[in-house]
Amino acid sequence: MELTGRTRITVSDLRGDPRRTRTEKLVRYALFAAAATSIVISAAIVLSLAGETWTFVSQVELASLWTDGWFPRRGMYDVKTIVAGSVLVSAVAMAVAVPLGLGAAIYLAEYASPRVRKVLKPTLEILAGIPSVVLGFFALSFISPQIVQRFFTDATAFSMAAAGIGVGILVVPLMATISEDALRSVPVALREASTGIGARKITTTVRVVIPAAVSGLVAAFIVAVSRAIGETMVVFIAAGATGGALFSLDVFGPGQTMTAAMASQAAGTDQVRGEALTFQSLFFVGMLLFLFTFALNLSADHFVRRVRQAY
């Protein structure tokens, strides 16, 4: 190669190696295909739910949707039983998770020294990794006899209260980590300004930081509710009523949620059997559940976006 003379660079030199360009293109398509699978999965979920749900809705007698209980194998599809079950269990769960999760988040974000935080935050996150079956077993074997039945002597061994507390424990880490993120995203300047005009730490926290982070906290709450409604195994194991349930608002008795109703229909049998529409009712409940959580997740997303825009 001639080193002394000026080398002229032409456009074709800059165009690059055709082989590299081709690889680049192929990779781009492959990666896009991978990303697009998520859309396919969403479509598949809706599709798998929609068909049988439509069969159910179009064929079911309306009277059987409003009876005394949820006994799909006997043709009683009382929707209010399982919706009430889901609401009750979620309410108990949130009664446990909100004070614990929010309190833990406030301590970690506002009070904890960096060293304490470094130890406690991962510990709390381990709780999030506990399989829900283990928690369900814990709810049945420990929470129910040791806590629920001790304080409420008329509670049954399988109860929605025990299941709710179990679900609550399950969502505490979720609640805590999202709330903590929201609190920490409040700019330090707001805290300094508050302290600067003489506010105490508690005043700064309660009247400045929490109001500033409120949409993030609401998002945490919604995500936790959505998770609690969607939680299956804890309720399936600890709330009893595997075959079906009578309509009941008694949290200390057995009951069934939408999720557990689905699991118990499919459990133990080779085929989901029973009255003509039993199999289809499974999909109907699935659709209800999907729509509930979908709406909740969308609104949580909306609140999270608001925090991001604010700061």
């Binding site: 990666l31 969403s42 599709l47 709390l124 990794g129 079956v133 283990v134 814990f138 080779d270 959580t293």
Partner: protein
């Protein structure tokens, strides 16, 4: 006088020596909330170790290698271990590459703020929030019913293959979200340096961005794997055997993959439902 003591004197002169009772009470309340959460975790783990320890020390060998049996003292978990093992294999083989590729597209390739990228992003966030039973329905419809002849001809499609595919799909959004976060944490300078010396986007991604993000991606994938191994609800819908079964204790028997199966979370569920028999794990 040290700086600590000085700060103390300043504080006392400002507050007039008064103690902030409400503030202290508030701090204690939130501290108690945090500690309660952590203590619950400790109780849970201790409870499990306590009860499970007895079984493990008494008869560790045949508990792990025994088949399920109607007698609680003799039944083992080998079929469950096998089912769970293969579910893990499916997750690693399907969800990991697909998830990491999707995350790479979203973070490295998709034009910033493009419509496609935003739609996919919102979609993935929603998928992550869909209850796991609903994924069970997906598995039931497609892998068990529609593809039953492929996934398990002798078991009505209720095989480890169906279960593994379902759980791989279930954890895919988690893999994508955590991997995308790891990729976002890679400093821009690394990419710019790569482009500066004339590397193509894929070369930069392959040789610089992905290796840099590898530890973060690994953490996310391990969490996703843990999630898939612990998940029971979709398996119930896909049709894991909750009763007794014989055979199925050979780990590497590939033909058996298309036959009926069970998994550890299912065994726990079944045993927990039988009064007086639980107390394991």
């Amino acid at each position: 006088m040290g700086p600590g003591a000085a700060a103390d004197r300043v504080r006392r002169s400002i507050t007039g020596g008064e103690r902030d009772i409400a503030g202290t009470a508030f701090m204690l309340t939130v501290l108690v909330a945090l500690l309660t959460s952590v203590v619950i975790l400790a109780v849970l783990v201790l409870d499990m170790v306590n009860r499970g320890g007895a079984v493990l020390t008494d008869r560790l060998g045949d508990f792990l290698t025994g088949s399920m049996s109607s007698q609680p003292d003799a039944s083992g978990i080998v079929q469950g271990l096998r089912g769970t093992f293969w579910i893990g294999v499916f997750t690693v083989a399907i969800a990991f590459p697909l998830g990491i590729a999707a995350a790479t597209y979203l973070e490295e390739y998709a034009p910033r703020g493009s419509r496609v990228a935003r739609v996919i992003d919102v979609n993935i966030r929603n998928l992550a929030g869909v209850p796991s039973v609903v994924y069970g329905i997906l598995g039931l419809t497609f892998f068990v019913k529609a593809l039953g002849d492929v996934t398990g001809p002798d078991a009505n499609g209720r095989s480890v293959v169906s279960a593994g595919l379902t759980l791989a799909i279930l954890v895919l959004p988690i893999v994508i979200i955590t991997s995308a976060e790891a990729l976002r944490a890679v400093p821009r300078g690394i990419r710019e340096a790569g482009f500066g010396v004339g590397a193509t986007r894929w070369e930069v991604t392959r040789h610089h961005v992905l290796p840099y993000a590898a530890p973060g991606i690994l953490t996310g994938t391990v969490l996703a794997l843990a999630r898939s191994l612990g998940e029971a609800a979709p398996l119930i819908l896909v049709g894991a055997t909750t009763g007794f079964m014989t055979g199925g204790d050979e780990f590497a028997n590939l033909a058996a993959l298309r036959e009926r199966f069970t998994a550890l979370p299912i065994i726990i569920t079944t045993w927990a439902g039988r009064p007086g028999e639980g107390g394991r794990r």
